[in-house]
Amino acid sequence: MRRAPALIAAAALAGVAAAATADEISRNFAGSIQLDYLAVPTEEIAREQALDGATAEVSLKLAVDFSPNLSANVKVCYACHGFEVGMAFFDARIADQLNFRIGRFTPAFGEFPLRHDPANHRTSDKPLPYDMGRMLRLREWNMSVLPAPWVDNGLEISGTQFLGGLTQLDYAVYAIMGPKGAPDALDFDFILSRSPAAYYVDNNSRPTLGARLAGTLGIGTASTVSLGVSGMTGTYDPENQLGFVLLGADFVMRLDPVFLRAEYLVRRTEMSLGDDPASRFRYGPGEDGEFDDFFVKEGWYAELEVPIGRVDLVGRWDGLRRRGNVARQSPLRSDSILFRSTAAFAYRLHGALRLKLSAEIYDFSDFDDELALHLGIAGPF
């Protein structure tokens, strides 16, 4: 089973490469590697609450430019899930204001997914709203709000209106398969989205729709302030009974080499109450005698990145909050919160190769506080 995605990915790469034989067609091969070691010194055995130890993240990307207005991209990733196809799409530009992206891609949502590649950001892991399996207590929290990169099949229409200098307005609208869950789900089942057992196809015959609007204001010749809002909505169960709404806002201030970033994500997710909610949930009905059929999950981060010579310093404060009823066996409460503070630096060893070191303090409302340490090496090629 594991070999199938790898073979498909290899065939896709070979197919695109073979197509790019004409002289006027340009090909670019690129990639990145990150090896990160996560240690939790406050726990003797941390595996019960985290995927600690060494993790390798590898990406191999082939970009083929058929013309200045038409390109194809295929990216294969290898990490905790084995081989995955992170990109396989065509980009067609009609005008600055009208681009079509068709295939398998990360839809436009928020700011961080643009730089999710480990070689493109300076910490070993991702901000909590976008965490994909490296946070502590990932199972209890069912990971983040929107694990990044969220890769999905579909169509995206996007464009940019340049308004002079560095000022511009960007938009994107898209239709994708969307997240998946079981008919009696209480939340997304992220494994279903990457499991060949459930096929890499939509589970409910209806697309998930999303949009993004972002504005960038130029300040001088090298500084910018950007504001963006994103939204995504759809159903995630096979019967189209359980809906979700995901909203996000992001802010980026760039003062030449210094970046200040902040994002906020909130997801309202409907839950199946089942035939006997009293036995299914930990908490009883509300004052009206009814069980709430949804929960709300929020995530946020604020991050300052300052390059000083060969070193990039990063300070980050992020968190998650979940409000709503929980499954009877869940250790979370009806209002659980997590704060995390991170200090990190990335040191340029040689060329593009960086040593990454970070310390994270987890402040859980429902569990003991923890310290996590990351030591990694990352670089593009």
Binding site: D65, L114, G218
Partner: protein, 108 residues
């Protein structure tokens, strides 16, 4: 487990070569005209909006047209900040760095 982390740190430190080149900016050849130096400053500023400049330094291109297509693809990325005129200027920096000043004559 902690021993593994310490060993990894030691191994990484041992691999660090003594002389290291600063590569946070695209630098034009010292003998290049001011126009190319300015173009490379613009390229450094625009390209690092989404990724480290390393990505550009490591790109393998075969001819000047390849750079035109490459920059056009980057220009399509959301919030790239690369206008059509910016793209033309950035390509001049990249072509001059990769193929020399003489190759600029072939550009549109």
């Amino acid at each position: 487990m902690r021993t593994d982390a310490v060993l990894l740190a030691i191994a990484l430190a041992a691999c660090t070569p003594p002389p290291m080149r600063e590569a946070s900016r695209l630098a034009a050849d010292p003998g290049a005209p001011p126009e190319i130096h300015a173009a490379c400053r613009l390229a450094s500023q625009r390209c690092t909006r989404c990724h480290p400049i390393d990505r550009v330094l490591l790109a393998r291109v075969e001819n000047p047209q390849h750079w035109e297509y490459y920059v056009a693809r980057m220009r399509r990325q959301p919030r790239s900040g690369i206008t059509e005129e910016d793209a033309r200027v950035i390509v001049r920096c990249l072509v001059a760095r990769s193929f020399g000043l003489a190759a600029l004559e072939g550009l549109p």
